[in-house]
């Protein structure tokens, strides 16, 4: 009898596992809204259709949810109460930070409850000896940056969206950015974390210790899991001391190989003083000069007197106070000389020229938008040597397949092997044609990425956009174990359904 019982159970369990968890989830009712209002007050609940707009969509315009309710808790305890209720009622939820993602991770698939962390924006404190900031998840990266800069430190990451993106979202997506080459990823810089689990229990791993090997490092699971294993509500992050000075230099390149050679030399020469190593191709350079105000006048030749095919944007951090002979320009010039007579470079001299040179790299996205083209954006990791090969491969395939009016822009974080392959087709392209171009690029780019054991998402995560692409960069066994972890932490599948794992 006992054996029979277990057997029945196992087949029931298989059934549970194979059905989509989404199917059995609840739809929000007026009673739910009333409960949340009683818990959070009127200001903590958003039900007005127009007010909900900004929660149901993001700046990309690519994703649209249909949630009827967003809640705005002000404390971990309130998030816990919300989740206890949702767990009991099988209500699916979407945690939402600054809503600045690129893969639709914070936008509902359907009508999930949106839990906005924006009101949880308190900074708790700063450990001066260690250099650690402790804060709530809804603090924007910029607020955190200003706070730690006042204490002579910097955040270990910097993103274009820092004015809006929130530290909780940065952690939930393991955001990268331009400082990663110097300070490493958030996996190395996270010290503490508090997360609300799917059943409303609070996993309190808020500590500010540099070394702490006591069992499994559960907080790492939440980093990069895009709100599918728990909701990050508080955190402690290591912040490095602020560099004395930042110097940026724009170096024209005859070829991609020259850029790789320059990267290798710069890493050896500057070591940890190298704080960014970015690149862009001629097409991106001309685009920014056309559509961005501050960069019109840049004109550089390569050492062979030709128009450069690539540009390197390299930033050096001067860390120790200068004590006589430590002139960053002298160092830069020694380095540039070692490359073999590059003379035509732009070196920042002040805040204005610093911003202007960086603008060449940073304004690519806005220039693409200003250009009026329909833009296709990609974010892949590859061995750095193969970034241009990837671009050429996809470009070649597009031509072969007759997409002659698609323009390609190649740029990214060369030092991290992170290519932002972008393409644009004329605004007049029909929706059907757009879908075809998109399919063609994805198919060819991701196949190339797979062949080089690269990553289909370097820093943007999977969200809803790339969840289907996971097998390009992960083995079936890896995905199976990710699903096992997901089931362990979210047995009802109520945490950000439809994202990461589908």
């Amino acid at each position: 009898m006992m054996r029979l019982a277990i057997r029945s159970c196992c087949s029931a369990r298989r059934l549970l596992v194979s059905r989509s968890p989404r199917r059995s989830l609840a739809t929000l009712t007026d009673r739910d809204a009333a409960f949340f209002e009683s818990l959070l007050g009127k200001s903590g609940v958003v039900t007005d259709a127009q007010d909900l707009e900004r929660f149901n969509s993001d700046w990309t315009g690519e994703f649209r949810g249909h949630s009827k309710l967003a809640v705005r808790p002000a404390s971990t305890e309130e998030v816990a109460e919300i989740m206890r209720y949702c767990f009991q009622r099988d209500i699916p939820v979407v945690p939402q930070g600054g809503n600045t993602g690129l893969v639709g991770g914070s936008i509902p698939m359907k009508d999930e409850l949106i839990i906005s962390l924006s009101r949880m924006n308190k900074i708790r404190g700063f450990d001066e000896v260690l250099g650690a900031i402790t804060c709530e998840a809804g603090v924007t990266l910029q607020t955190a940056e200003e706070y730690v800069q006042q204490r002579n430190h910097v955040m270990p990451l910097d993103l274009g969206s820092k004015g809006s993106c929130q530290i909780g979202g940065n952690l939930a997506t393991n955001a990268g950015g331009i400082r990663l080459i110097k300070y490493g990823s958030l996996r190395g810089n996270i010290l503490g974390l508090k997360a609300v689990l799917s059943d409303g229990r609070v996993l309190d791993s808020m500590r500010t210790l540099r070394k702490d090997n006591v069992g499994y490092d559960l907080k790492q699971l939440f980093v990069g899991s895009e709100g599918t294993l728990g909701i990050i509500t508080e955190c402690a992050v290591l912040t490095p001391p602020k560099p004395e000075e930042l110097r940026v230099v724009l170096i024209p390149m005859d070829s991609f190989d020259d850029a790789i050679h320059t990267l290798k030399s710069a890493k050896r020469f500057f070591n940890s003083a190298l704080s960014a190593f970015e690149y862009l191709d001629e097409a991106s350079f001309e685009l920014v000069k056309t559509y961005s105000k501050g960069q019109k006048d840049f004109k550089l030749q390569t050492k062979t007197g030709r128009v450069p095919s690539f540009y390197v944007v390299m930033e050096i951090a001067t860390e120790a106070p200068v004590d006589g002979g430590d002139d960053p320009d002298a160092r830069l010039i020694t380095f540039l000389d070692s490359l073999g007579g590059i003379s035509d470079v732009a070196i920042s001299k002040n805040a204005e020229s610093y911003k202007s040179i960086w603008g060449l790299r940073e304004n690519i996205t806005s220039s693409l938008r200003s250009s009026g083209m329909r833009v296709f954006k990609y974010d892949v990791s590859l061995p750095a040597r193969t970034l241009h090969e990837a671009t050429m491969y996809v470009k070649g395939k597009l031509l072969e397949e007759g997409y002659r009016d698609v323009r390609v822009f190649e740029y990214g974080h060369l030092g991290d092997g992170n290519l932002h392959f972008n393409a644009g087709s004329p605004r007049s392209t029909s929706p059907g044609e757009i879908a075809k171009v998109q399919d063609a690029i994805e198919n060819h780019l991701y196949s190339f990425v797979k062949s080089k054991e690269g990553s289909v998402s370097a820093e943007h995560g999977l969200g809803q956009l790339k969840a289907k692409k996971i097998l390009y960069s992960r083995t079936p066994i890896e995905v199976e174990w990710m699903k096992n972890v997901k089931r362990t932490f979210d047995p009802k599948g109520i945490l950000n359904p439809g994202k990461v794992l589908i």
Copy 2:
């Protein structure tokens, strides 16, 4: 009927969960030995009692297993075959690297099968642009260090045991060491990992990408889990460029507060050029001078002319090639001047003096052993400011409780807030008294650690020694979820039973 079946199953499941997994595990038989011999050949199996000695014990002399069988696979596939067999037969296993741990993590509790990774010692390659070494788990840290140094890089960690410890064990214990202050933990430096799961399936996450946000980062689970979730067989680790020069300086301190002040100033002044910030107290200093050959002649006064109560051992890495005025000594002197007239310091001038100064810090452990005392060793993390307070607290309690002949030695990685509290009682102390002293120290030190939200294991892990102490540094909810993760990855409890979670 169905409901009944499920109910029976649930209660059966509860039973499974609550009983100790160890109880149902198999004992090795001759048939098992024959199977492993058929798989690995004679040289891959150790059954001789004397040969098994070194697998059943480690250098600490504190732990002793009674395994009758050690296997020495030469490939991931062989480890997988072993685990498939063990999973089927419910045979408990202990993965073993260089066997240099301090908490008995690699020593069997009873008669588990020992899986030694020592034969898996092949280096696969090096990515020059990224600076990543790819190798098998059994490569010693020193071999890896020599390999990457030939390529002008360094391993991101350095340990006293580097000649014996293996990179797989380093990862399995998330080993720290003296370079952590500069290069961060292995969590930030691990790029790829291959692990054999409890059922013999291979989780292949071997990639060498700097940015890779595709689903959950499963490999982080194996880092620091001490062989309880899977067996690490291969890895890829990021290696930073080799510094041009290392300069070490010994600075005498009037007080612990002076050491903290010096730490804060040094972090700001040298930023990422600061490659180690260690400290030791007067007692440790005198001990090393007495028992270690190379350090007899050190004698320094503090700025107030007194015998120092503490010494700081600070290392600076010169990273960029010197181009005229970048004199590391000039920098050091500028820094020391800024501290307010410290004149009596020792600065390394060559390899010999570098080694000699480092010896003051590195030879504490061997000097304690040479002293003939019965030594009690601890490894805790605390807010750096409170390290000396912890020592004084435990010292005071020991005196209060009448342990007057226990000597206390305070040293550690001050820059990481990592205290190595050590104590010694005369060799003549009776075993009963030793147990009492040990209990007293543990009780008081760990209570202090708990009160400051510190860690009972900064870098040594829990192993079998500290598994029972987990609640001093983790909440019950954290432990519960660690156990959930353990059950997900090792449902039969055959991976390193009795370690980490008990």
